[in-house]
Amino acid sequence: MTTLETLDRWQASGVISAEQHALLRSLVRHERFSVFVEISALLYIGVVATAGGLLWTFRDVVANLGHVAILSLFAVFIGGSLYYCFTRGGAYTNDEVEPPSLIFDYVLYFGCLTFSGLLAYLEVQMGVFRGWETHLLSAAAVFGALAYRFDNRFVLSLALSTLAGYLGLSLELFDTIDTDRLRYYAMGYGLVVTAIGYGLYRQGIKRHFLDVYLHLGANAFLLATVSGVDSANGWLYLSLLLPLAAALIYLGVRFDRFAFVAYGTLYGYAGLSIKLLNAIGSPTLSLAYLVITGSLVVIGLVVMSRQFARNG
C-alpha cells in the first residue's frame, strides 16, 4: 500500500480530517516541499566562503590598500553584522528563542568569523598581543557572549572550541605532543565546560545549551583519558576512564541521550582494550580477545536496547 493510499485509508477511518488529508497529501506529492536544509547549507557555505575570501583578499592586497583601509573594512563588516543582529533580534531571554529570519544566524556567524579574521590580521600584520593566547581568549569571550545574547548553539560551539584552542587543546597538538600535562589540561577543560553547562542549566539560563557543553566536555575528558592509557600512568587514566564510561552509559540510558551511551561504550572499550592487548601480546590471542569481547559488547547493547527498542 502506497503512502497516498494509506492517507486515504486514515481519512476514511476518521484518523485524520479532510483538511489534514489534503495538506499531508500535498506534502507527500511534493506539491509543497521544504528547501530549508538546502538554503541553510548554501548560506553556511556562502558565509564561510565570504569570510575566507575576505581574509585572502586582505592578505594579498595589504601592500596596496594599507592597514587603515583594511581595518576600516573589517569594522564595516563586523559593525554591520552586529547592527543587523541587535536591531533585528528580540530582547534577551533565558528561554529558547527562534531566530527572527532565516539569514539571522548566518549574519551573526559571518560577524564572528570576520571578528576572528580581524584578530588574526592584527596579530600577523602588527603583532599586537605577541602571541595567539590573548586572541583566542578574547574571541572565545565575544563568541560566548553573542551565543547567549542571540541564542545560537553554533556560535556557542565556536566559543567553546576557541576556548579549547586557548588551552592548547587542538587535535593537532593531541597527535603530536604526548605529555601528561596536555591531558590534564584537556581533562580540566572537559570538567570545567561540563560544570559551566550544568551550572547554567540549574540556573535556568538557556537550558537547551546543556547538550553542547556535555558533548564537548565528555569528548575532551574521554579522549584525554584514552590517550593516556598507554602512557606510564596508564592505570591512573584507566581508573578514571572506566567509571566515567559506566556513568555515561547509565545516565545516557536514563535520560534518553544515546550519544553518551555510544561515547561510554566506545571510549571505555578502547581504553580497556589498549591496556589488555598490551598485556596479552600474542596476535592470535589478541584477535580472539577482539572477537569474544566485541561479541559480548554487542550482546550487551542488544539486551540494553530491548528496553527502548523501536519495534514496529
Binding site: 500500500m1 503512502t3 484518523v15 506529492r29 544515546f258 551511551v261 555510544a262 596476535p283 592470535t284 514496529g312
Partner: protein
C-alpha cells in the same frame, strides 16, 4: 529477493514522516500514536547512536574473526583466497541470519556483517587473481573492485542498504582504472559505467518519486551524477 517486504519498507518511511508531521504540528499526539500503531512492521530497530556503535563493533568482530582464522590456519599464498571466501560467505550468512531470524532492520550489526562480506568478496577475488600480476600489474585489483561492485549491488538489492549501492558504483567506477593504462579511455569507461547506472536507476525510479523504492533510486542517481563530475 529482498529481505524486507515493500510494505515494511514503506511503513518504516511513513513512520519517519509521521514523526516529522507531529514535530511540525500538522497532526496531534493522539493521531501520531494511532497512525504509528497502524503501521506495525514486525521489524526490530534501534536509534542511530546504538546503530553506529553496533556497526563499529560488528565490523571489528568480522575482521578480527577472519584474522583469527588466518592466524590459526596460516594459509599459503595460493590458498589465502579460500580463507577470504569462507569469511565472505560467513559474513553474508550471518547478516542474512540476523535479518531473517531476529527481524533486524538497520540495527547496525547486520549491516556491519554485510559490509564486511563485500570487503571479503573483494579480497577473495583479489587473492584468487593474484597470479595474473605477472601478466598485468593491477589486473587482480581491478577484478577485486569489479567483484566488490557485484557483491555490493547484491547486498543493496537484498537488504536495501542504499550506501551499498553507492559503494558498488564507486567500485565499478574505479575498476577500469586498474585495467586500462591510458588516462582518457579509462575515465571514459568509468563515466560510461556511471552514466549507465544513472539511466538504469532513472528507469527504475519511473514515477515513484519519493515512494519506496524511488527514494533509493534517487540517491543512486545523485551519486552516479556526482561520480561522473568527479571523474
Amino acid at each position: 529477493m529482498s529481505a524486507y517486504h515493500p510494505d515494511q519498507e514503506r511503513a518504516v518511511r511513513l513512520l519517519h514522516r509521521i514523526r516529522d508531521w507531529h514535530k511540525s504540528a500538522l497532526i496531534s499526539e493522539a493521531q501520531r500514536d494511532r497512525m504509528a500503531a497502524d503501521l506495525e512492521t514486525g521489524l526490530r530497530r534501534t536509534n542511530m547512536f546504538l546503530r553506529a556503535t553496533m556497526f563499529v563493533f560488528g565490523l571489528m568482530i568480522a575482521l578480527a574473526a577472519a584474522g583469527l582464522m588466518g592466524a590459526l590456519l596460516e594459509p599459503g599464498n595460493s590458498t589465502v583466497w579460500m580463507l577470504a571466501a569462507v569469511a565472505a560467505a560467513a559474513s553474508l550468512a550471518a547478516s542474512a541470519f540476523l535479518v531473517n531470524t531476529y527481524h533486524l532492520y538497520r540495527f547496525g550489526i547486520e549491516e556491519a556483517f554485510a559490509v564486511a562480506g563485500i570487503f571479503f568478496v573483494a579480497a577473495t577475488i583479489g587473492f584468487a587473481f593474484e597470479p595474473l600480476r605477472d601478466v598485468s600489474g593491477d589486473t587482480a585489483i581491478g577484478f577485486a573492485f569489479a567483484g566488490a561492485a557485484v557483491a555490493a549491488f547484491i547486498v543493496f538489492f537484498h537488504f536495501g542498504f542504499v550506501y551499498a549501492a553507492v559503494i558498488a558504483m564507486a567500485c565499478a567506477a574505479v575498476a577500469p582504472f586498474e585495467f586500462v593504462d591510458d588516462d582518457v579511455p579509462r575515465r571514459l569507461i568509468a563515466a560510461a559505467i556511471l552514466a549507465a547506472l544513472f539511466f538504469a536507476a532513472r528507469l527504475q525510479r519511473g514515477d515513484l518519486g519519493d515512494e519506496f523504492p524511488g527514494d533509493n533510486y534517487a540517491v543512486i542517481e545523485t551519486a552516479a551524477w556526482g561520480g561522473i563530475y568527479f571523474i
